[in-house]
């Protein structure tokens, strides 16, 4: 059987990445591509790398006949997404790639995003889209909220450790190194090649990055008590990749065993042999996440390093994985592409 899908926000990087992946998917057909600002244009003119594909032209979201659509991906900017989704048919299955439905608590949403939520009821309905940990809920969900790319990376490193109680919850530091495509196709001075190339820096340090809202929500839920982590993202001169270096207090061997056991059956989460460390170059363009554990020379300290591609496992790949689960398709379909190296 073939399912018809629509993508809203098809002219951004996550929209393009969804199309790249779906192009190899035997059971999903792209029926409509929405991009209000570029409606009327062909995808080949917006993304020439997709010119070999037979794709529908871009249209305004309002011009899509959703009665013919089995599932809709929303790759829209934050805040726009909730306003658009609120108006979509109430029985349409939706995978949202924005931040709008990640936080269940309206107060938490308002705290981190600075405005009241425009679709509070849907906020409650939405299922958090970290597939490996919400698989059953996702299978039955109508609206799935894709996780933040940083939030996904950190959670893959930490969730099993928090659940198993093998680390100190009050001493968790996440130092993230993020490639630039996570900032999207937006025109900002600091995203120019001449600015970014050959230099790197920390940003949103000290507990101000919005993905902390997700960490707080999920880790506290897992632990059954409030958990606050330290989290510093850094912008690195590369296009794809997130590398999370996580400093924890705990026994490194036990941590490695806990992660290995938790992910033994997961096709996309690969725990390296003890002492080996991942690299973003080895997951680029793929839906895989590589994890490594090293013991520190200081007793009871360990380092967990996780690497994934922010556009794939951190966003569009995760979205397709969730769509597969929602539509009853084998979960890995269209997602087993090997990383592109070098």
């Amino acid at each position: 059987m073939t399912y018809k899908i629509a993508i809203l926000g098809a002219s951004g990087y996550t929209g393009a990445e969804l199309i790249r992946l779906i192009a190899t998917h035997p059971e999903i057909e792209i029926a409509a591509l929405g991009a209000n600002a570029k409606a009327g244009q062909s995808m080949a003119s917006v993304f020439p790398h997709l010119r070999h594909l037979d794709l529908p032209d871009l249209v305004k979201a309002d011009d899509i006949d959703f009665s013919q659509i089995d599932l809709c991906f929303c790759a829209l900017p934050h805040k726009t997404s909730q306003e658009v989704i609120r108006e979509l048919p109430k029985d349409l299955r939706i995978v949202d790639l924005s931040a709008d439905f990640r936080l269940r608590d309206p107060a938490a949403y308002e705290k981190w995003y600075g405005n009241p939520h425009a679709a509070v009821e849907m906020q409650k309905e939405a299922v958090y889209g970290l597939t490996e940990f919400y698989r059953d809920d996702i299978a039955n969900a109508r609206l799935v909220a894709g996780t933040g790319c940083n939030a996904a990376t950190g959670q893959y490193a930490l969730r099993p450790l928090i659940s198993a109680g093998v680390i100190d919850l009050d001493n968790i530091i996440m130092d993230l190194k993020c490639a630039v495509s996570g900032a999207g196709r937006s025109l900002k001075e600091n995203l120019l090649h001449a600015e970014l190339s050959e230099g790197y820096h920390a940003y949103s340090a000290g507990g101000t990055h919005r993905h902390l809202g997700e960490f707080d929500q999920e880790f506290s839920l897992l632990a059954g008590r409030p958990v606050q982590v330290q989290f510093t993202p850094h912008l690195i001169p590369a296009n794809r990749g997130i590398l999370a270096t996580v400093y924890v207090h705990g026994n490194a061997q036990q941590i490695h065993e806990t992660l290995s056991a938790a992910y033994a059956a997961e096709p996309f989460l690969q725990v390296l042999p003890f002492g080996e460390l991942p690299s973003t170059r080895h997951i680029r363009g793929s839906n895989f996440c590589h994890l490594g554990v090293v013991a520190d020379r200081i007793e009871n300290r360990a380092i967990v390093v996780a690497a994934l591609d922010n556009l794939t496992k951190g966003s569009s790949g995760q979205a397709l994985q969730n769509a597969n689960v929602m539509l009853g398709i084998e979960e890995t379909t269209g997602l087993m592409l090997a990383p592109c190296f070098p």
Copy 2:
């Protein structure tokens, strides 16, 4: 039906690229991976980006049982390749990715490569592997010689024009911009990141690059008289891609029409609308070649620009395309992956 293949030279970039592509191929199974210097190692240790695949360990070429192999890819260094292939079973189908069997004339081989050929009879038997132009010969070939990556790019830009007689054969200049993976995984000072990044230069200028041997052979054959082109490659700080800017004398509109007609039915050769120009970023990681034509302000001068990925269409993708033809598999199988952008 599933065909079993072997790859000799699996620890280099073109070997890894073959595996990346074949991993999505439903009719080909990787039965053996040869790499003499790294025999005994797992592919995950040599290329961690392939660790999710269930691949055989690396072995010495001598330890492969070729009676079980339907086709062998040789991704070995130049000169080594002819010595290894000479010893392989005489009924084994082979796609060679090295330069060893590209030139049919032993004298031309010796001129460009500096040593007498070690397998002269096979040199005559080999079919030149530019699929779109030697398709029928390849279907019946035992030994196919993959073209040089630069040679492929230039030929896609020029062959139909030479055949159609629409350009001046004595005024052809090819200025190529080549990414660094074309140099392979070899340890040379000028390939270090600290040397190459942020800088670029011309090399092998003035008619000394070995791929000229292929241009001379093929263009002269097409034209029915000796043709010599000018060809200057440049090393660019990027990992994948070749961009050929070809300066010709002729009518630009006629040139565009000639290329468009010649490639109308070719799945991988995409001629852009007149006046549009390709970019290497839009073919990265794919088997596509984008071509554009622009008229110069000087009458009867035109510029043809061709872009392809040296590791895919310029090497391993072309090799798989040829293997498909040799094995009677649909030619595009395993090769329709969209480019990876950004």
Copy 3:
């Protein structure tokens, strides 16, 4: 003696580069920095890499007391520059880095820039700022027009050859590879790191790039008859550098001798030994231009390659060199910094 200078347009890359160079200049003092849109800000906030310098804050151009200024650098956008310069005191010495006063002929200006010139009389007064060829005129000039960065590169490769009559004037092809800082600090999608990095392409091909106006003007003047060259720029994923690969008809040895003789006494123009080729990495951040000559295998064909830093020798370094000449300071003062490699 110390001269006081002002810089208008100090918040752009060429403004910052001027300050970087002047910071080591013992006879020039920065008295005023103009940047209308950022007036009131400190340079440290606009360009943190200059924070160690004791610089005046940015002000509006109108708020500068030019009676205290010995020379003014205008690093403003094209078209804005002529409007601002028109209103400056008529006895103020000016080095303009924009394109506005490069073309002497109002009709040529209008043809290439699409609008009538707003200060036609000054257009006639302006001296073309290619220091090595207009040194005497510059010494006596009030208004010097800095050349285009591409135009400078091509002229260094070709002017002595045209003057000496050693190349065919009807067969000159310039293939340029340009780094991205030449596009300035402007917010355009194709200048984003995620777009540009790892890819490259030709642009303004076929005779449409504005720097052709300079080539036409200067080469025709030198030759005493109309000369038209072919010129294709390419955008390369690097921040600084222009590499011009110039294809000419002529005797390579004679060409090398002509260039070597012409530049024997020039401190910034370095002709490499015959057969050696320059690289942009070896001039990065400096005022040097490296030139190389190679013979082609085809008789009477040669390749001249020139490399310079578009922000330094191609723009701000050239501007400072001209200012030195205008102020009677030793020409190389502040400009002998070695390139920054790696």
Copy 4:
């Protein structure tokens, strides 16, 4: 007065960087350049970016007449350095850029470097070359040991805090992001452009990196009791720069005040306003170190970020700064070059 210096190991990156800096130094003259493997070659052939300088050709160290040399820079590989320095005249002033004389304790040296020291007496004599903290000792030293580039970065962030007792000594985590030139011009697979570009990873994690020996020595000395830090370096796809993100327990405002006070009179150590963070792009090619402090949302936690150029402030710039002190030259001479951005 002009001092004559020699550089041993002039064919490596730190040797070239020394020459780049000294080229602008009015009181130092380069009298001899040693490079055993490349003896007889010109610097222009080894480092074409230095071709405009009038430099002596490379010679073997044994062929240098040290009686004419006022000070010798040793930019040799670790272990080679101690063997060479042992044989140099005993009254020759030496600045060593290798790791060989950084650790005062022979046992600590053997622990971190794996071999007994070959010049134990000199090990005791050597002064640790972190200029700002050992200035008086350096002025009187015969042999100064340049610090590790990572070790310098971390110490600039932490020394005043340890001295002032404003942070918890048992909870210090340093997460470093290092550019590739720190690895030198060595031929290793993971330093190739095709390997490194577009990817990044942690290495020597868990307390195995040799620069920990310096941290242990210096921090324990300062604190008057053993101090052990956690330290994870990461290799970033850039050529120059180290960014240290340091996680400490303490009051962020107090930490900022402590650093600001400690460095108020230091020309090269620039503390940014509270809450601002540095970037490697803003110190590239210069001898400056930028430091920033941010408070975390968790009480009593702070983040200190330090950025410097590993080849300049982290190595050759520091070496020249020390040489100035040793020779009685104004300390900043030849070192005030502005960073090269973009």
